[in-house]
Amino acid sequence: MTLMKSLMGAAAAVALSAGAALADPALIFDLGGKFDKSFNEAAYNGAQRWVEETGGEYLEIELKSDAQREQALRRFAERGANPIITMGFAMTSTIENVAPDYPDTKFVNIDGWADLPNVQTISFAEHEGSYLAGVMAAEASKSGTVSFIGGMDIPLIRKFACGYAQGVKSVNPDATVVSNMTGTTPDAWNDPVKGSELAKAQISQGSDVVFAAAGGTGVGVLQTAADEGVLSIGVDSNQNHLHPGKVLTSMMKRVDVAVYNALKDGADLETGFQNLDLAADGVGVAIDEHNEALVTDEMKASVEAARAAIVAGDVVVHDYTSDDSCPALSF
């Protein structure tokens, strides 16, 4: 019995010291799941890069339902994790609830809008990246009709669609942009069957380039586009490798860079708002060995020109979220 007691005491001591040593950062993946080949996977890649370079460790959780948001956030804060990086707009209200209770913990809110002294809010200029994708789509399209498939119908996704439509119209003012949203609930991030069906409907309306900004749903969109012999555009992560030679490009949102930087800064990270735009390489289009055959020199030139114009401020891409309207596309 005494042996048992001392064993348990030792175990408890180990547990305590482990708890004390725990100032590891934490990463909360959103409902799409860690390996969605898109938004969350980009965060994972950024975190892994940090692990490889520094040998550090981080805590992580994949959310399975909305109810877990606050619980997960509080648990990490209680365990002393710092900073706590959260993925997705949906964490904003949770952070607004939780962050004031842990003033010494730094929170990172990617894609959100939480405005608190211990929160770093990172947003991306998705409309600018999507604009470049739109330029490429319009150049690649033979039919003059291109399309967009969004995941859940939220302002952020409309921002993608609006930037894309503006890019398309900048090259070909007469082009038709067909736009569909998969749904209005978080299920819309994970319904590849519906994504396929939407892609088929758009292809039958004449679209020959489909841009999917829809998380896991996009997997179905890209698959269908490849099956039907039209081009597709991936999102967030570089998705060119999913169907080599069939994916025109990917609108990359450098979530990996944002996560990597946050982990590198650790507890010293600067709070406040950060906007990663085209000039900061926060967004961009991916060109690699899987799609270089599809990208002509003219396309590259127009993308470069558009990019330079946006960075220089000669072209201002309208941001849907600024006034909830889009000049190039009606929803």
């Binding site: 390996f35 319904d191 069957v193 069906e197 698959q223």
Partner: protein, 335 residues
């Protein structure tokens, strides 16, 4: 809306309705025998995963279909064991199966393929590809003419459009699902087995008095339910898609249950209900908002319509939906 658009929407309807129809008929067998089955969703999900996993590993879609059906049958067996043999609550057993499938598929997928709870994308042999019926315009013609398939179909006459777009070009499971409707009707209403199966859902004591095993019949019904759910799941993962993604059934099992109530537990009506629900989905996918005499109907209304219709039916506005009388009650031989 021109003729071709209409045909395309109907074509999409067929694809959306097929998994609903298979799951609905599965539920029909089970519930007609007095076993409520809320676990259609879980069985489809499990079958979707195993069919995709085996098809990805072996490159043979038929082996995939077989293992999908087998996995769905295992879940059916569990449901039967809990609710028939041990007389547990059928609804709770069904819910448990849904959660089991939801978690287990991702867990096994992660440990087998390490791709975050999905299977690798299936190549051509690992999928049920569309069947081109004779004289239909298909991808082969498009390749020969070196032009997009859509243009070729657009130029064809209306009959050819109807034939090529709507009737031809589906995977074999779509035709199989349609054949199951008359087959179900025949089995239930024209065979001795069907008569007994229906009787066991209405008055199991009478069947027992006649010397027929209530448990045996109920297990047979639950088994058929598993078979059909297995085909539905395999169609989702290897027919409509090229691989499994977590939660890929996304509520289709529940819509199938709604369709079953809407059809008042009858096979031909089930076909009608599933086609209607499929049509609503197809319209919602094709048109984001519909202008209707000055009003704009938002897409959310179309998404909600199957459930609204079911509530209307259940409330008894359009005839009464009366479930099998012994449904949900475990059979106790003697008190």
């Amino acid at each position: 809306m021109d003729f071709l658009t209409l045909i395309q929407v109907l074509d999409s309807t067929m694809r959306m309705a097929t998994p609903l129809l298979l799951a609905c008929l599965a539920g029909l067998f089970s519930e007609r025998a007095g076993i409520f089955d809320i676990g259609l969703e879980g069985k489809m999900l499990m079958a979707a995963f195993f069919s995709a996993a085996v098809a990805a590993a072996t490159g043979n879609v038929w082996l995939g279909l077989l293992s999908g059906v087998a996995s769905s049958l295992v879940l059916s067996g569990l449901h039967g064991l809990a609710s028939i043999t041990f007389r547990g609550n059928q609804l709770i057993s069904g819910v448990a199966l849904n959660f089991l499938a939801s978690g287990l598929t991702v867990l096994i997928a992660e440990s087998w393929f390490r791709q975050g709870g999905r299977t690798p994308s299936l190549l051509t042999d690992g999928r049920f590809n569309g069947i081109e019926l004779p004289f239909a315009i298909g991808p082969a013609d498009a390749a020969a003419a070196d032009r997009p398939l859509n243009e070729l179909i657009k130029e064809a006459g209306p009959i050819q459009q109807l034939y090529s777009e709507l009737i031809s070009g589906h995977s074999i499971l779509v035709y199989v699902a349609l054949l199951f409707v008359p087959l179900t009707w025949w089995v239930l209403f024209r065979t001795r087995f069907g008569l007994r199966l229906r009787a066991v859902g209405e008055n199991p004591a009478a069947v027992d008095t006649a010397g027929v095993s209530v448990q045996g019949l109920r297990f047979a019904a639950v088994g058929i339910c598993g078979l059909l759910c297995g085909i539905a799941g395999a169609y989702l993962a290897t027919g409509l898609q090229a691989g499994f993604v977590r939660e890929m059934t996304s509520g289709r099992g529940y819509i199938a249950l709604a369709a079953l109530i809407f059809a008042k537990w009858r096979p031909w009506h089930a076909l009608g209900a599933c086609l209607l629900f499929g049509l609503l989905q197809a319209i919602a996918l094709r048109f984001q908002s519909i202008q209707f005499g000055g009003f704009t109907i938002p897409v959310q209304v179309m998404d909600a319509l199957p459930y609204i219709l079911t509530v209307v039916i259940l409330a008894g506005f359009v005839g009464k939906a009366i479930p099998p009388r012994a449904g949900g009650q475990p059979y106790v031989k003697e008190r």
